[in-house]
Symmetry: C2
Subunit: 243 residues, 2 copies
Amino acid sequence: MVLSLGMMRAMSDAPRTARAVARAELTRAILDSATQQLAEVGPAALSVRAVARDLGMASSAVYRYFASRDDLLTALLVEAYDDLGAAVEEADAAVTDRDDVAARWRATAGAVHDWARAHPHRYALTYGSPVPGYAAPQDTVEPATRAPRVLLQLLADALAAGRGVRDLGGRVDPAEVAATGPISAVTEPPLPPEATVRALAVWATLFGHVSLELFGHMNNAVLDYDTHFATVVDLAAYDLGLA
Amino acid sequence: MVLSLGMMRAMSDAPRTARAVARAELTRAILDSATQQLAEVGPAALSVRAVARDLGMASSAVYRYFASRDDLLTALLVEAYDDLGAAVEEADAAVTDRDDVAARWRATAGAVHDWARAHPHRYALTYGSPVPGYAAPQDTVEPATRAPRVLLQLLADALAAGRGVRDLGGRVDPAEVAATGPISAVTEPPLPPEATVRALAVWATLFGHVSLELFGHMNNAVLDYDTHFATVVDLAAYDLGLA
DNA sequence: CACAAACTGTGAGCACTGCTCTCGTTTCGT
DNA sequence: ACGAAACGAGAGCAGTGCTCACAGTTTGTG
């Protein structure tokens, strides 16, 4: 039986039989080899046969673990989301003064930037162009929400402390409140719609910047990415009402 | 001789011999077939052999026109940039009241959004993840600047009319002025550094939003993309000092 | 006009890919 | 202990990008 991603996780908790533990180890080895290949040759050139060669097994055996090359890529995708999410959560948690929401935002944004530059191919896998007609499996949505959740929560904390955007000069109409409804509810307490909208726009700015930088669209416009990124993050902090 | 992209353009101006015009026509036919394939199966699955089959020729013959599959994709890339650039320029030019810079910005942003949704695969080709280790050929940079140039120019026009962001509360330091220097000089007159920085941030917001929307990262957050996009664009207009 | 050089299309072929299927072996649950 | 499930190996299919030698055509020039 070819395991789903959800089963992979449940399995890693309690590998009972010898076969199950062997399976878990080999699954891990395949993912590690694939991750390495991903970093070396990129997603397009990732080859099941090369992974099999690397592990000294027949290519057909790999299909006992991942039903297709796309399934393997999806597993890497989930791991990448989780890795990024963990990096962002750690960066935010590392800010000792929890009331310094501006610092928490800078740490969050910096973590995204740093992670993306450290793992460009994994970033491309997650936030680049998906395989056309590709619908992200349900397994990917929860890990994908970890990073943005940090931003939303720190904004909620800011609002609780009397800072942060509360209104946008009447620029958010009822239809927009409905349109962004689902995302407002992920924090405790829920964000006001205006704050949610600003947060989404800032999120788009952050990933837009990282994508434009990593994908080479700023080569002739910006000479020093670090300086420019810091400025953009500061602007976003201002827009979010944190600074 | 396999033609470069630059030669392709020069050639299409003055096809003298019968052979040259046949070559131009077949080059065009290959590009058209490839564009159609691109829309149907996406960039990853675009196949030289399939294009050849579509045109009823041997696959090896295609290589007389494009040295490799990547070269063919690069040609499609350049055409996509040009197409998007033209759409944006037309949308801006269609605003009869040239002093209504907010309307021009909405038209510009809307053109990007509309074009991307009409040609998702071509958008992915231009603003999605590039082939890893891929350095955009010099042929692509000029067409790629057409769209952002519209934003920069309309902001310059706004400033000339007494509107638009002039300073950002001292948030732009000298290093940043140097970092974004090259881009400030593309308008006439040149933009103040603060305006350039804001424009770049807004540009990142725009493409960040379109990418997140098209690549499926907002599926569980936003219910109505049109409404949300309009709000984000309005926010950007406010940030740019246009509204 | 003649002719060599350049160009163009063909088909065979190489190395590679994702994936399937069958086969024998090993391990598991009962 | 035994049947079922899982496993790994190898052959094989259909497809890919790309190269090459070959044949035919067009071109600009002597």
